[in-house]
Symmetry: D2
Subunit: 347 residues, 4 copies
């Protein structure tokens, strides 16, 4: 079959790889119907993670079950399924509760990151622990919507949930990339009075405004803008969706006394200069973490099915899997108004 | 001055009463700008509460401070204010936290119920503990919106909050009268997937549908309808806004295993036949209570000011205070599509 | 093998029944090491449930795995295990989270209640869905302690948890039978200032006092006693462990405004006369439910292993399984200071 | 009157200062009965805060009201009172709820830190906003216990509360100084299975062990010790009570995936090297803040009155106020087994 394979910095190739087979009796093989490129894939693309090349990439995909191991109980060939981008052991207490990122048995692992699992930007994918890593795609959820349920919508929702937004409060979201937009859609579920959307890209701010947020251009004095709009107090909650030092600092500077900062941006800094003395005086709660994707399916699937969440608007470009190299280059360029690229193996 | 006075069953009169003065050094007098008739006023109207006649009625009003006692610190003459329908001592821990219905010192008391406080369906009202019972009306909140902040919007919000709705869940609301509609608007703040709105009046169901709910006519087999729509499980949360035995029973019958029933309807039954054995098997949480109005102002005022809540659509009729007797008769009749009647002393 | 079989009102017999085999590929057979008689078994004993006789009884037991179906993954022959008294499907979201009483697939079922599962007061027991219904007995937990983890300690803990006790608050527990004592031990984990223990049996009140509670004899005017001790307010939380109408009424009468009533007593009343008007004025939260036993093992097992909970003190009598008829009669009599009877098949 | 005055690095003098008078109509004067030296006073002692000398110090004190302004409503001359170490405006929503550290009007301020309020290590103290900053000392609370309610017991309790400990979990507490011991006593209120107490001073570890904790000497490889004892996972919650970079790092290193780190140690670092990438993988919640003392009185006062908390054991030395210079030197030396020094103006 064909898959996108990482061969070095900015070198993604569409090439033939061995056909997948179930990893063990609990595994399944899924024929991929849709896949997408994640912002964290760009870390790979730029050689910042797992530099040894030669592995297939991608962890956002959906498709149809085409083979199952003998111990798979919940799925059968022909089922259309979501594939969780992150996989736990499926047996420990955290995994049972859906919080696979707290897996107690050596997991979790992310597909397509050279940690033992192949990538989902491929024609098919072997999924271990299928009973826990898959979820049936219900009526009312389109393929485009479904692929967003495998990582970035749950990630954005995690950011909003752990910001502990209560009705009537003010929220700031730092970064209006794809995850930031998912966080924005998710934050609205918690009834805030206002959402301040921070970014420097005009197109992204425009999308945020369309979604009901107040656009705040970080090219200007965004801190003064937000503080003035909030009577000098700052927002009750800040969701950080970039992971860069500067945007985490902005989040800590903006948040109100007694407030929450929730980071879902990917930081690789092991010595971020945290303003502890300021945080002490403010009295803040800070959360950072990777998303346990399956934990949020019972919440998010009905919201999409009922039309309460329309995440698919984030897709600005739709390309074939064979165009993967161009798709990475486009997404990395931030040009042409690109927000999120959908890859369709059937094109 | 003039006020509406209860003189017996269905006998409300617009008549002259003594001008109010501050009850003590902490009290204030408010000239009434808008007032409204509450569903619970109909209990008085029908002689079901405090049958001894001769007292002024009404507990939903806003206006302008025209006199203050010497110890009032937060308000001055000329301030436009909300008046909480329910008043606590203002000094104990629950009152400080805003939960005046748990007042530890003999309060709370409701205006216009012959419990020691005059009624707000009047040209002016003496408000004790003004620093705690009043709240400035901010820019962006209209007079019509403001009067709903003095009782029924906070009450509907209490119903929704204590139903512990989480994003993606299903909710049923029993009763689409004014409080039910406030509960519906409030429930949407918690991100549910679906809201089932139960009533028998077509106009009310139509309003609920306009607000995004699924109308369910209780004249039909509403229990089957809701259970079928929820896979046989029932909604995760039910908000009861009537107070009648039948509608509380419906709520208990509908709710899903492990779910919440939140009652803000006014029940006067001291021996409601609670299906305890069923509740045991289901494992449910049941909340019932009167609203601590000021507790919810920090939440609700910004939502109205930002246009996220538009409760004023509930007013179907606008009359002069002098037309109070007709207004009560109209509201009691449920005719002419009446939902909520606003009284304007200046008309 | 031998088991205790219900043959009619107060007629329990120790007799030969067929040897158990795994119910299906996911089932296991456990050789019983210890079992106990539950207060709810007395409902069977008195013919109040499932009157058709001839079924084996008991749902509190531990033992050793002696046979497993082909799909059992977490246990092997020789493992010593807890058996949950209540069993869910093990596959749905609530079951995965441990809340088996909200099972979405027709379960839960309780062992030994003629609902399709045999009883655990036997030499061996067939356990379906073994991966979910069993739990390894860790070092530091004795056999006597372990058997209490299969129902009544988790049940008492549920009562305490859903009473939402916060440090410094006052708690009342109604009924100092075995479940009430478990609730008392559990309530102490939440840091209350005082626990009022209500019962009429002097020996039970004495045990409660030993455990740090304030004994309150319901033969006297217990309501006045508790209200006076709490400044007229009543306790913040009440845990009801009897299930009788009178004791639920006492709970509702005692609880403070804004407080919680948590019922784990078994009520069979479908028309309990609930004082709804009083509850409305007080503003209370009421919870009733059956315990999802496995949900609480991660919490309770470490507390026993570390010596923070010593539930085994509840056992006042230890008898052989063959003495089952006498054991039921003794437990039912409430004589000889009996609190809880342990049955040992090896005696 | 006499007071302890800061005159420069390690230069504390007992000297005559002007007698205090009420700051305004809402203020009161309290004759000091007991006061204590706080770990944060040592920052002043070493010239690390507000270096301009000449101000009186101390923020932990209790005493008797000897004068009140005309608007003080809750207290009268002769009342024995707690004095909150931190004071808010008393009027805004956070202050009303007790969370004075989120005061919206320019407060809070701490006594004896040269921010406008005199110090409580004196014969008398002027207290602004007396109705909010004071609390009556109830029966059952001794003077020694009371002085700990004015800062360090609430601070330790804050640390424990915001660590979100649930029954059965494991907790580590970093630093067994006076605040650490208060955190230890407080953590026990939440029902943990085990508490690991970290320090390097043998006497402090011995006290911790007496209180039921597992002593862990940070002179050794404490991280390995705690991880091995917790199956490699680490504790669910860590309470940091030192404020030094090293101990915050230890806290972040120890905590389990999905766990909580709660810091009540005083950090003055504006660029603490936070291991963000590690925290991301673990998925942790981090809280740091100063204690809103009055928020915790309703919780802690009953626990002391009922004998459930005995914080007074932390006092190892009792001296006269006139011996203040020696008391500071002793406390700073950490010699003679000193944990906490009580100052009695009447000696």
């Amino acid at each position: 079959m064909k898959a996108l394979v990482y061969h070095g910095v900015t070198d993604i190739r569409f090439e033939t790889v061995p056909d997948p087979t179930p990893t063990d009796a609990g595994g399944a093989v899924v024929r991929i119907e849709r896949t997408a490129i994640c912002g964290s894939d760009l870390h790979i693309y730029h050689g910042q993670m797992n530099p040894e090349p030669g592995y297939s990439v991608g962890h956002e995909c959906i498709g149809e079950v085409v083979e199952t191991g003998s111990r798979v109980g919940r799925f059968k060939v022909g089922d259309r399924v979501l594939v969780s981008g992150v996989v736990g052991c499926g047996e420990c207490v955290p995994c049972h509760a859906g919080t696979v990122t707290s897996c107690e048995r050596g997991f979790p692992t992310v597909f397509g990151t050279n940690q033992g699992l192949d990538g989902g930007q491929a024609e098919a994918l072997a999924v271990p622990r299928a009973d826990h890593a898959l979820h049936a795609i219900p009526d009312g959820v389109s393929a485009d919507q479904a692929v967003l349920l495998t990582d970035i919508l749950p990630t954005g929702y995690l950011g909003a949930r752990d910001a502990h937004i209560r009705p009537g409060q003010d929220v700031a979201i730092v970064g209006m990339g794809p995850v930031g937009l998912m966080a924005l859609m998710s934050a609205k579920l918690f009834g805030p009075a206002r959402i301040f959307a921070l970014d420097s890209v005009p197109e992204r701010l425009a999308v945020a405004e369309t979604l009901g947020a107040i656009p705040c251009d970080v090219s200007g004095d965004v801190q003064t803008q937000v503080l003035e709009a909030t009577g000098g107090f700052g927002p009750h909650a800040v969701i950080e969706c970039v992971g860069a030092d500067a945007s985490i600092q902005t989040s800590l500077a903006l948040v109100r006394r007694g407030g929450f900062v929730s980071v879902v941006g990917v930081s690789t800094n092991m010595a971020f200069p945290f303003p502890m003395a300021l945080a002490l005086i403010k009295g803040i709660t800070f959360h950072i973490g990777v998303c346990s994707v399956p934990e949020f399916w019972p919440t998010l699937v009905p919201l999409i099915a009922e039309g309460k969440l329309c995440p698919e608007t984030v897709f600005t470009h739709r390309m074939g899997l064979s165009e993967g190299a161009d798709a990475y280059a486009l997404f990395d360029s931030r040009r042409d108004g690109v927000l999120k690229v959908l890859l369709d193996p059937s094109r």
